[in-house]
Subunit: 436 residues, 2 copies
């Protein structure tokens, strides 16, 4: 007998299915994000996941475009890419309506992003990412606000300042070290900056050996410089004054203001790069301090020159991105995830056609009063109907039969505690609201 | 002098950018959708836009898969498609966890979907679509609930029953007409059903001519049948009893129950097909009755056999999809769109570094009290700062200077009316809440 072809129920490799319990967590994360950034005056925008491929060629970094994007030709022979990051898109939108928009412009979005890479913990082929950007601020007040927002989000998730640290650096300082202290040419500077970016991911000995290849006898000085714990250290080791090191004053002032406004866990981190080629000034990252999860959670930086690729004047910009996969891992590690609760509050079970008709109109009135009500329409026996409510984790049920229709008194059962309360229709809402 | 290459700020063809004012409308539409379906006990799920191409080969219909999908090979040579519709995905998710899920299962999602077609009014290459599905209900109670939800959504958008009509039909009736009344073989039945599906989009004469090619002398009877206004008409014209026409009893009972629960604008529409091959029973569509916008807005139907493609037992299912582009057009046509309001409520303008520092801590406290506050960080003159708030349509502003810092009295200006109120910090919230 020929067997029917059976289609797989697997999702595409490296992406996730969101069943209601996953969606609940996703919505919780998005909710904290939205609420926090809107408090700070950020407005939501969005765009399509499809972008012209050329958008990423200018500034995203070669590795991303050549090896990690989903790019293809559409049926009309256009080169199109599933966005691997949101910054080029937001730059495109701002550049397109520069004259109409009011600056400083605060925007946020929660796009899904695509990277073609081997799925592993914390890295999937599709993830969602909060993007928070401020345009039109030259001073490091933009950094102070952006990093405050990032820190506030962590706190609103229930994290305390000891759970994470904020690492901060400036591309200007790095550029000064590479080109002024070590006099590297462009190619060597690029190689060394990529090496610095990978430092946390390789053994110290490898890092030193590879530094040696680029810097030769200057390696020792380099290792000293990048182990500086503060601007003062950096001055001492390089033998330069603060004013001689571009970006250092700015960085110092941002750190001071952050401290003043209650963000205390900021540390200077001279090896911090953040991958993208478009960063021009301060970069930062939020680092998980839990010994079992020591890793960068998210970060961002200043990218003052990016809008110029659209032929516009320069628009100063600072922003960060925060992914849902890493933040979910963080919340799990720190036991900060909320417990699942379906949006449905009450489930009505009915004996027959007649009680079902009664349930339909009861449900209708209860919905008007603000309760989310589902009904069992299966026609199965009551015990099976109750079992179905249980599988769906619906907190309250009521069985509608002859008695209930006659008396107008309903037994509302709390499915967690098993407790039942007999109430009339107007009292149902109060019973359901006993559960937060 | 060589000119710098200038990158275009255009979006990819046929997709939309969502600036905050567009996003506001999008969020309004999504909000009405979510609220309504959750009242009826539907739980949210989601999945990736990337799906294995084979998922669509079985049942979506040839035209969609061969001509209208975004399909490509990934870097690992897998065939992958940007989902053109959500039903195969939801069927996949339900089939994968059939044993763990509680039935009747009510699920919804608001995915973005992709079709490669020429962009035109109401049709873009990417749109978002509310998908509402109920699994595990054999009886037409599923249809009654689903169509009630669809109608309730329209009413929650502010539409009245005269603004739209609900057309309803059954694939079972059509199949009976094609194979039992006209004795067509499978190929001819398929051709005729595709012709019926296109009826509203072609001149009556063309439709008749093409029917003639398939049906010959039976064309007149066919044209009579498909102009039936009711089940009674259908019985008379075909000379069959109600019980002899499969699906007619079910359809009649669903229409009766809809009427009983207050959904009055339902009409029998024997030419209604809805494109997808997977429909097996009742199909329906919401039709705009506005003479300037006469068109189908959205619809759905029963698809009892779809889960069987995953090798599972049959799971009865009914669902519908409602797109954001058509609904936005509808709301525009009927003047039902809400006026833009940014989420930011108050904008603080500051004279200098000192007043900015004051603003930062004032803003902090106001946020704690539940107000969304943005600050101008540009360092520009006050009139420019106010202009920027105006461009962003922020409803209230306050200027922070020496006086305000000394007295603790702030002039809160309503940007619409120009009215100013001088209040202390604790009274700011009340002023802002005068605006709904």
């Amino acid at each position: 007998m020929a067997e029917k072809t059976k289609l797989s129920t697997d999702a595409y490799k490296g992406v996730r299915d969101f069943y209601p319990e996953d969606m609940f967590i996703q919505n919780y994360i998005f909710g904290v994000w939205k609420k926090t950034v809107e408090q700070f005056g950020y407005q939501e925008y969005n765009a399509s996941v499809l972008e012209p491929t050329e958008l990423y060629k200018a500034k995203s970094g070669e590795e991303i475009v050549n090896e990690q994007t989903y790019s293809f030709k559409d049926r009309g022979d256009r080169d199109v890419t599933l966005r691997p990051e949101m910054t080029p898109t937001v730059a495109r939108l701002v550049a397109a309506k520069r004259r109409e928009l009011g600056f400083p412009l605060r925007w946020y979005s929660i796009p899904n992003l695509f990277r073609y890479e081997q799925p592993q913990r914390g890295r999937l082929r599709e993830h969602w990412q909060l993007n928070v950007d401020i345009f039109g601020v030259e001073s490091s007040d933009a950094e102070v606000e952006g990093i405050t927002v990032a820190s506030k989000i962590m706190k609103n998730f229930g994290a305390s300042e000891t759970d994470f640290e904020i690492r901060i650096n400036s591309r200007k300082i790095i550029n000064f070290i590479l080109t002024d202290i070590f006099k590297l040419d462009e190619a060597a500077a690029h190689r060394l900056s990529k090496l610095i970016d990978r430092k946390e991911k390789m053994p110290a000995a490898d890092f030193e050996a590879q530094s040696q290849q680029i810097l030769g006898e200057q390696t020792k000085l380099f290792l000293n410089i990048i182990s500086s714990k503060s601007g003062d250290d950096l001055e001492k080791i390089t033998g330069k004054q603060r004013s001689e090191i571009p970006g250092l004053d700015d960085l110092h002032s941002a750190m001071k203001k952050l401290n003043a406004s209650g963000v205390k866990n900021v540390v200077f981190s001279p090896t911090l790069m953040r991958g993208f080629d478009y960063y021009t000034g301060i970069v930062f990252e939020i680092f998980d301090t839990n010994p079992e999860n020591r890793r960068a959670l998210f970060g961002g930086g200043r990218y003052d020159d990016l809008l110029a690729i659209f032929g516009n004047e320069r628009v100063p910009a600072f922003g960060f991105g925060m992914g849902d996969v890493t933040i979910r891992d963080f919340l799990e590690t720190h036991a900060l995830l909320p417990k699942y609760q379906p949006s449905t509050q009450l489930y009505l079970c009915s004996f027959d056609e007649k009680s079902l008709a009664f349930s339909v109109s009861l449900a209708d009135r209860l919905r008007e009063s603000g309760i989310n009500v589902a009904m069992d329409l299966s026609g199965k026996k009551i015990s099976d109907q109750i079992k179905s409510a249980g599988k769906q984790k619906i907190p309250f049920i009521a069985v509608i039969g002859e008695d209930e229709m006659k008396t107008g008194i309903f037994k509302i059962k709390n499915m967690d505690s098993g407790e039942e309360k007999a109430v009339n229709e107007n009292e149902i809402k109060a019973v359901i609201h006993t559960k937060k």
